[in-house]
Symmetry: C2
Subunit: 222 residues, 2 copies
């Protein structure tokens, strides 16, 4: 005994969603059935709008309804600062922090040689072309700093190292997000690498000179 094919087919479709197993997929289908034609039509319309109206920004690769996304089209953003992220979701997270007023570049993933994701699979050529092209522009449009904002994972580190090497010939500052204690974290249970990163990146609080303290600890090269 199985469900009729239209139900089994839709269960199969939902099972392809990330993190969704057969029971969740079945619940989704019965949720739609309970809502009837109205609920199904609303979802169909929302998906069709996604298909027809969403494209990538020609400059940064962010999802966008227009040719240029709202950030790239905003004349108040600082075009000398470029933040490189893996995914559109990361771009939104960085921008919501309010701590970055520059522009972005979406790589479409991180380097993962074991899974066969090399530089050609990512938007790295576009990144390099964009930086080189900006050197021909007047100074307020010339990229002076590239901030690498990736997940603190093996793939993130691999991508940081690759891009740092690749951009070393250019006359730009390449930086990365700080390692440290997350807000609400627990020092006692923080892993040694994070703690070492927080120590080597520690900030002066009350010092007349306002100079950063010279670290007596070895900086962790991550």
């Amino acid at each position: 005994m199985m469900y009729p094919p239209p139900i089994e087919n839709l269960i199969d479709e939902f099972r392809r969603f990330p993190g969704i197993g057969p029971k969740s997929a079945e619940r989704f289908v019965f949720h739609l059935l309970r809502g009837g034609a109205r609920r199904i039509d609303a979802l169909n319309a929302a998906m069709t709008a996604l298909r027809d109206r969403i494209d990538r920004c020609v400059e940064c690769g962010m999802v966008s309804e227009q040719e240029r996304c709202r950030i790239c089209a905003n004349p108040r953003r600082d075009r000398t600062l470029l933040c490189v992220v893996a995914e559109p979701t990361d771009l939104l997270a960085v921008d919501r922090s309010g701590a970055f007023q520059g522009i972005y570049h979406v790589l479409d993933g991180l380097l993962a040689p074991i899974e066969g994701i090399g530089p050609e699979e990512l938007r790295i050529t576009e990144l390099v072309a964009r930086i080189r092209k900006s050197t021909e522009l007047e100074s307020s449009f010339r990229i002076q700093e590239v901030v690498l904002a990736f997940d603190p994972t093996i793939e993130g580190e691999t991508t940081v190292n690759y891009l740092a090497e690749m951009l070393s010939q250019d006359d730009i500052l390449v930086t990365r997000l700080a390692r440290g204690l997350p807000v609400g974290g627990d020092l006692e249970y923080t892993d040694p690498v994070t703690l070492a990163g927080a120590m080597s990146g520690r900030r002066a609080l009350v010092r007349r000179s306002a100079q950063p303290v010279e670290s007596p600890f070895q900086s962790i090269p991550l």
Copy 2:
């Protein structure tokens, strides 16, 4: 900063799915975007088929492509045995066990007075009409036993009690699923009510008389 409206709208649609929060909904949308028009069209087509081709069986209320579901249309099913379940998903679970060869009735839920779900919200009138109507038929089509197969919850118990009372005037046997230890369970950690149910419903293994043992324990009236 938010995503463009087509993305935010679809995130809102997916958030209505059972058990889905904002982050999962966002992941679903980007999963669809990565799959492109092809993935979106496949899902749209599957949902349209669900809307247009799935209805309820006129006899039992199971989801069905035909007027009568495959079980009700099967002449080999025993029409003297009727199993009442809350949802189509429960029907499938009972039928997959292979232990029941009769026909079914889907109630479309369980009684939950606190949430405002009374007998009128369920397909109880249809159940009673179906049983009464069968008494006019020849004996192989006359319902002789009604098995109540509900979740072992407060709502399930409430519905068992209500239906047992309602069907007490009819000349039929009303039964319910046994309580006991689930396969793979752990006796040590089994709750007292389940354990008491398993004790009072215990089965004779080797007894010449083959009569059930008269219980020296008080039977739990659940």
